[in-house]
């Protein structure tokens, strides 16, 4: 059991921002948080005066660990067919990729792994399908035989728009048009309804019975509206991903109560689909009452740049705590894991990041990253200043170089 005291804590939850706050952690969970926390006798105390604490960051749309040390042999996308509802992103995840460690070091403690990612530079058409498989919510600090999975079936990834139709159209396969894309989804939905369900379509059934949401890749306003029409037709739960032109149809998205995973917000206008990209998109969607999470779409932009993307929103006028929520509690809510992660509240996982300064600025060094109460990255030696030690345990175990798995 240990307590971190006197820090500025952005809880992203019901406690708001706590000045000179204390975070009490035991067995991987937050036992208590606030300004008047009673500290048990056997508790180690870490003074963090002048430091800021935020919940571990969450990227709700990531292809982390799926690039296999080079682009040509990446496992991010199964290009052999346009319809792959039975794939699991976890099966393409390599926990030993360098980027996984970088992600932990950057304070991104939870991601939703999604299938369906390919190179999108220059003239190369992104080689993605229409129904790409099922994503999982994992913690990035990998121990033992793999990542801790918070939610195995977290959403069925699909894609609408220019990329699937061009990639398959080039191969003279369906879809060569947006009509073809929707027809493929509709056909898969019908398969999901069959009484003698083929195993391959079991996640279509899960989608139709509201066990998992659809995560639909959309850039253009027209594709957003197409996704909403499909939802009307089949009545599934929907989360929109990328949502580049969302600001053009923000009231419609808001009326339907659809959550949005927006980004990467720093993309340039690569191709016609992105020609109307605006850095203010996430702000406008939020102003319409939509639950917005930011994504770096790792490796399009590395996941550990997530806090800087949120910082850009602050620069463009979003309230600081609201911007912070787009990379903490909002993605947790969208992914259905807000009971465990995303905010610093009693009973939740002790996933948090300690900063010396503003957490949303690039220049601010990360002091330490904690996942499930364990320090997984960082140096704390010099932090141990005026330490009071109660009970038998020494505070030393937090000092020195943090081990990074």
């Amino acid at each position: 059991m240990y307590a971190i005291c006197d820090a500025l804590i952005h809880t992203c939850g019901s406690h708001g921002v706590i000045k000179k706050g204390t975070l009490l952690v035991d067995q991987g969970k937050i036992v208590d948080i606030g300004t008047n926390v009673a500290l048990p006798d056997n508790c180690d105390i870490l003074s963090a005066d002048g430091y800021e604490i935020v919940p571990g960051f969450i990227d709700a749309h990531s292809h982390l660990g799926m690039q296999s040390e080079g682009l040509s042999v990446a496992d991010g996308n199964e290009a052999s067919s346009a319809v792959n509802p039975d794939l699991l992103a976890l099966d393409g995840f390599n926990p030993f990729e360098e980027d996984v460690i970088r992600c932990v070091q950057g304070g991104v403690s939870t991601v939703c792994l999604l299938p369906g990612s390919a190179v999108s530079y220059g003239q190369i058409v992104e080689q993605i399908g229409v129904i790409e498989g099922v994503g999982s919510v994992i913690k990035t600090a990998v121990q033992g035989c793999g990542p801790k999975v918070l939610k195995e079936n977290a959403g069925l990834k699909m894609a609408l728009g220019d990329h699937p139709k061009r990639f398959f159209g080039q191969r003279k396969e369906v879809p060569a048009t947006r009509m073809g894309e929707i027809a493929l989804i509709r056909a898969a939905m019908e398969e999901g309804k069959q009484s003698d369900l083929k195993p391959r379509f079991r996640y279509m059934r899960a989608l139709l019975s509201h066990e998992i949401p659809a995560r639909i890749h959309v850039h253009r306003a027209r594709d957003i509206l197409a996704a909403l029409r499909l939802r009307e037709e089949y009545g599934f739960d929907l989360v929109l991903d990328h949502v580049t032109e969302g600001y053009m149809v923000a009231s419609t998205i808001s009326e339907k109560g659809i959550d949005c995973v927006v980004g990467p917000i720093t993309l340039t206008r690569r191709g016609p689909e992105l020609q109307n990209i605006s850095i203010k998109n996430a702000i406008i969607l939020s102003e319409h009452g939509i639950c917005v999470a930011l994504t770096c779409d790792h490796p399009t932009f590395p996941a550990w740049y997530l806090p800087y993307h949120a910082g850009m929103l602050v620069g463009k006028g979003m309230e600081y705590e609201d911007a912070l929520k787009t990379i903490t509690i909002n993605p947790a809510k969208i992914l259905g894991v807000a009971d465990k992660v995303g905010s610093l509240e009693r009973g939740k996982d002790a996933d948090f990041v300690l900063f010396k300064g503003d957490p949303l600025e690039i220049l601010t060094p990360i002091q330490a990253v904690f996942v499930d109460g364990q320090i997984v990255s960082g140096k704390l030696g010099h932090l141990v200043g005026p330490v009071e030690t109660f009970g038998g345990n020494s505070v030393k175990k937090f000092g020195g170089e943090g081990k990074c798995w």
Binding site: V119, G122, Q123, I124
Partner: protein, 385 residues
């Protein structure tokens, strides 16, 4: 006459002047300091509490030549019809009304080198220009500003639509093409007019040989897309053989040969840093590269390779390196005077000094903070944002 009043005045080559004042006339800085008299009729810009910095410079981007928001069919960046296309010129492929130029101003970038793409061993000539200006000829700083060459995967394989084009498939192939062309160019530049006609065969060949002659005469550098020691060592050997100057563009692993780059006075135009898609291909790349290169005495600048990373975010490339130990004042040099030097226009741009072009930005806060906003940009003393 224009006077900018107050603020933290980052001159770059001199000290930061608190509550500094700049006087601008005819597009140039004419006085800089705390106690300077400005004429009563001068237009005054109040910059109290703001940061005034020289216009940032991006020495490697494809603004306007890779069009914003259009398909690759509209792109003019890669003349991938041959492994060597030294006869093309970037300036002929640029849409000067492209939105990318506005992105540059949004990030306080006032000058840039626009390159042809990396799909050829010899890709064509670069152009250095300002991000805005009344007419095109006034915007151009240097043309040609160098010759684009590529020593990487891109130049070892023709891009998709041209995949039947004959290309080298190894670094040995790239080296042999360059050695062959430089040898031909050396013969060409020393030949009589009659002999020249004999060597060149066609106008295309003449354009390429003339450009390479300029490189051999050290009038312009080769600007070479290169990343790893496996790229640099053959280039060092070619440099020893032919005596040309070159810049390392990208240089992901350049720090590994920092001392050799330093002794050869080869600058590194580093980046881009925020779209790290190619990190897996360069396992030794590290974000403190600019710091290590700088400490070894290499001239370093930052680049976005726009549209790989938005030219608007050039300053954030520097911020990332500061996070990893690069001193902030060195980082600011790598955004201003260093790229001006690499561009070859250090007498005109890159710092706030008397006599230099009045290209500068006013930031709401420190220019390396994400949250700071570019509030105004001036080029030749004229407000362009």
């Amino acid at each position: 006459m224009l006077v900018v009043n107050g603020g933290h005045l980052v001159t770059v080559t001199g000290e930061v002047i608190e509550n500094g004042k700049v006087l601008i006339e005819n597009g140039k800085f004419v006085a800089i300091g705390r106690d300077i008299d400005s004429p009563a009729d001068a237009q005054v810009i109040d910059a109290q509490g703001k940061w005034i910095v020289p216009g940032f410079i991006d020495c490697h981007c494809h603004v306007g030549i890779v069009p914003e928001g259009l398909d690759w069919e509209y792109s003019d960046v890669n003349e991938a019809t041959n492994a060597t296309t030294g006869f093309v010129r970037a300036i002929d492929g640029i849409d000067f009304n492209d939105k990318g130029f506005q992105d540059a101003l949004d990030g306080g970038v006032t000058a840039m080198i626009i390159h042809p793409g990396s799909s050829n061993v010899i890709g064509g000539t670069d152009v250095a220009l300002k991000a805005a200006g009344e007419n095109l000829s006034d915007r151009i700083l240097r043309n040609p500003a160098g010759v684009k060459m590529a020593w990487t995967a891109g130049s070892r394989k023709a891009p998709q639509p041209f995949k039947d084009t004959p290309y080298p498939s190894t670094r040995m192939g790239i080296a042999s093409i360059l050695r062959g062309y430089f040898t031909l160019a050396r013969d060409y530049m020393n030949a009589s007019d009659e002999k020249k006609r004999e060597i060149e065969k066609s106008p295309f060949e003449r354009f390429t040989l003339e450009v390479l002659s300029m490189v051999l005469r050290r009038e312009i550098p080769a600007r070479i897309h290169s990343m790893t020691p496996a790229d640099f060592y053959p280039l060092f050997r070619l440099q020893d053989e032919f005596g040309f100057e070159f810049t390392v563009d990208h240089g992901d692993e350049a720090y590994m040969v920092a001392n050799e780059l330093s002794s050869r006075r080869i600058p590194v135009n580093y980046g881009p840093l925020m779209g790290d898609r190619w990190i897996p291909m360069f396992p030794h790349s590290r974000p403190d590269s600019p710091k290590l290169l700088d400490e070894a005495g290499v001239l370093v600048s930052f680049q976005t390779d726009h549209p790989v990373v938005s030219i608007r975010d050039l300053r954030l490339q520097a911020a990332i390196c500061v996070k990893y130990g690069l001193p902030a004042d060195r980082a600011l040099r790598m955004l201003t005077i260093n790229p001006a030097t690499i561009m070859g226009v250090e007498k005109r741009l890159g710092s706030i000094e008397t006599g230099k072009d009045a290209d500068f930005s006013i930031f709401s806060g420190h220019p390396l903070l994400v949250r700071s906003q570019v509030e105004a940009v001036f080029i030749n003393g004229i407000r362009v944002k």
